[in-house]
Amino acid sequence: MQILLVGISHRTAPVELRERIDFQARGVADALRALAGRGSAREAVVVSTCNRAELYVACDEAAAARQDLVRFLSDFNGVAAGEIAPHVYDVADLDVARHLFRVAAGLDSLVMGEPQILGQVKDAHTIATDAHTSGPVLNRLFHSSFAVGKRVRTETGLGSGAVSVSYAAVALARKIFGDLTGWSVAVIGAGEMGKLTALHMKSHALSRITIVSRTMAHAARTAEAIGGASAAPWEELDAVLGASDIVITATGAAAPILTKAHIESVMRPRRNRPLFIIDIAMPRDVEAAAGEIEQVFLYNIDDLQATVRENLARRASEVARAETIVNEEVEKFGGWFRSRGAIPTVVALRERFEAIRRAELERLDFKLSSLPPEARARVDEITHLIVEKLLLTPTEQLKALGGSDTVGAYTEALTRLFALTDPQADDQAEQDRAAKGGRVEPFKRPTGGRR
């Protein structure tokens, strides 16, 4: 069994192409069923986000499956194969594990370390499980990738720090006020910028939003557009400032509308309750000196952009630690994956022993036929137990083998020593084995025998 990945992502394909190869829009479950119907893959998971479309499959013959998967990308999405081909990448076996682990960790994302991707990978696996297209190999692979994502998030700073201006503002507000529910926001200026920022604040549980504008009609219209916000006339600016905890200024005024003295006068009745002022206007709306007031935290757009740059730099410095975790987990997965190479040999070995047992019982049948049925059943049981005992240790040892070279050497030696038939063709037997809890059905067992 081999693992194969075929896909496109923001690293290889332009957005125009990614838009057209969109499994989410066409239904990931349908895609999985269509893919399973083609027969080139035994197991399949489709990871589809706005930045990537990737087919993860477990198959017998990687070369053939690769061609079929590229054709599938083109057929299912109705995009000419020639158009897709130059942008497609494909990797096999442990490189697939490395790729998926890096994806789940956010190392392959457009914004380094973004957290949504792990949830998207989990969803992709859930859909495949529901559609019964995922199997033992891909289950193991995806569960390992969830572990990588979790480890990278908790053990490194790859996902820490806001990387957009609006998130940086919300993160700062959280560092000042803690939980944001219940605090109130004032937005000064009813323009597009003010509206967008207010919407963003609203999405972070800041529900008490007041819009203040020189033109009351503008304020009312913006408040309505946001939904649940209230509007206040310019004359009430001081009252609104006094009642708010976060103030966003976004007017088009040519000179500062809030001076240090003005804010000082507002702060006095507040008894020094903290005031977080975010000045996103250009030119600035708030006098820079206002930041000197105790309990006033003044950030303008440049300050926020600077913190975003710092966060991006910090994330970049965490990449090496995240890659180390990815390597460790690839190693772990590799050990498991290689040990699977021994399974067909194990199955063949057991079948071989069982066949010998059965042949001997048949050969001695004329001697045993005089025994009462209970005694015959006992003979059957005892011989079965002997075979099981003989095979127990070698089976365990084979399954514990790590390196692919050792697995190859051992399987070859066993194949020769016991004259086993082609073990690679025994995947069906392997599935039987899995279904029956790891044991080959014994030769006629008259009564439900003990083991």
Partner: protein, 275 residues
């Protein structure tokens, strides 16, 4: 015997510092485990001393320090477990280690002086030790508040920004610790005064230390100073909006006085509390 808790406190201190810089959850958990182990072994030590003396060892200056360290460790653990916040540990542990070094290297337990008896004496000492533990926490919370405040004000969001809870949370924790500490400080001082008045006329009449218990004694005078500082902090927070950074500074100042009163004054200057 106080060496074992000291060793464990020191190990916990290293683990907390390591966790503070690396922020690996596994290290954080082992730091807490070490501190719990230290507190448990400390409980055992104090329990043994209690059995030996027939009294909780709080009367002598050295054993009072040991008991204070134990109370502070427990209070901190309580705060850590209720807030799920480990960042304060890195500031508390050095204090625990430094103070625990005194009983560890001054072995032997002072027996309780004969005059120190009655239920009021027990209330006096335990309230004050508990008040001091609260003030120690308030001080550490105050220090972290100032560190975070400065980073946010300077618009340089770095080390502490990533590691400390929000200013609001720190401010509220500080307020709560001060209120609790102030209540116990007040109780402890009043009860101490009542006890001294009773003892002076009765069983303590012949003891020069009991006779020295007045406002002129440095220990009692500085304790009153402490009470004034914390009372002012509470008043200022409610009446003039002195929250945040000013409250944090006052908490630190108050605890410096507490510590000064608790260690050097008791050992070297006080004529009334040198038991």
């Amino acid at each position: 015997m106080n060496l074992i808790p000291l060793g464990l406190y020191a190990a916990a201190m290293v683990a907390y510092a390591w966790h503070f810089t690396q922020r690996l959850p596994a290290i954080g958990r082992s730091a807490t485990t070490l501190l719990v182990a230290a507190a448990l072994s400390h409980t055992f030590v104090i329990g043994m001393q209690t059995m030996e003396l027939g009294d909780v060892p709080v009367a002598g200056a050295t054993s009072a320090i040991s008991t204070f360290v134990w109370l502070l460790a427990l209070s901190y653990l309580y705060v850590e477990m209720t807030t799920d916040e480990r960042a304060m540990g890195v500031f508390i542990l050095p204090l625990l280690v430094a103070l625990q070094a005194i009983p560890a290297f001054r072995p032997g337990v002072e027996g309780r002086a004969a005059v120190l008896r009655g239920p009021l004496f027990g209330v006096h000492v335990s309230s004050l030790l508990f008040a001091y533990a609260s003030f120690a926490l308030a001080c550490v919370i105050g220090i972290t508040y100032v560190l975070l405040f400065k980073e946010i004000k300077a618009k340089h969001l770095g080390f502490f920004y990533a590691r400390l809870p929000s200013l609001q949370v720190l401010d509220r924790m500080n307020q709560r610790a001060i209120v609790i500490g102030w209540i116990f400080l007040t109780i402890g001082m009043i009860v101490g005064g009542v006890w001294a008045a009773q003892a002076r006329g009765g069983y303590g009449a012949g003891d020069p230390r009991v006779q020295a218990m007045s406002l002129e004694d440095p220990k009692i005078f500085v304790a009153l100073l402490c009470w004034l500082v914390y009372s002012f902090e509470l008043f200022a927070a409610r009446r003039i909006g002195w929250g945040g950074r000013r409250a944090a500074y006052l908490s630190t100042l108050g605890f410096v006085i507490v510590l000064f009163n608790f260690v050097p004054i008791t050992y070297f200057f006080s004529k009334s509390h040198n038991f």
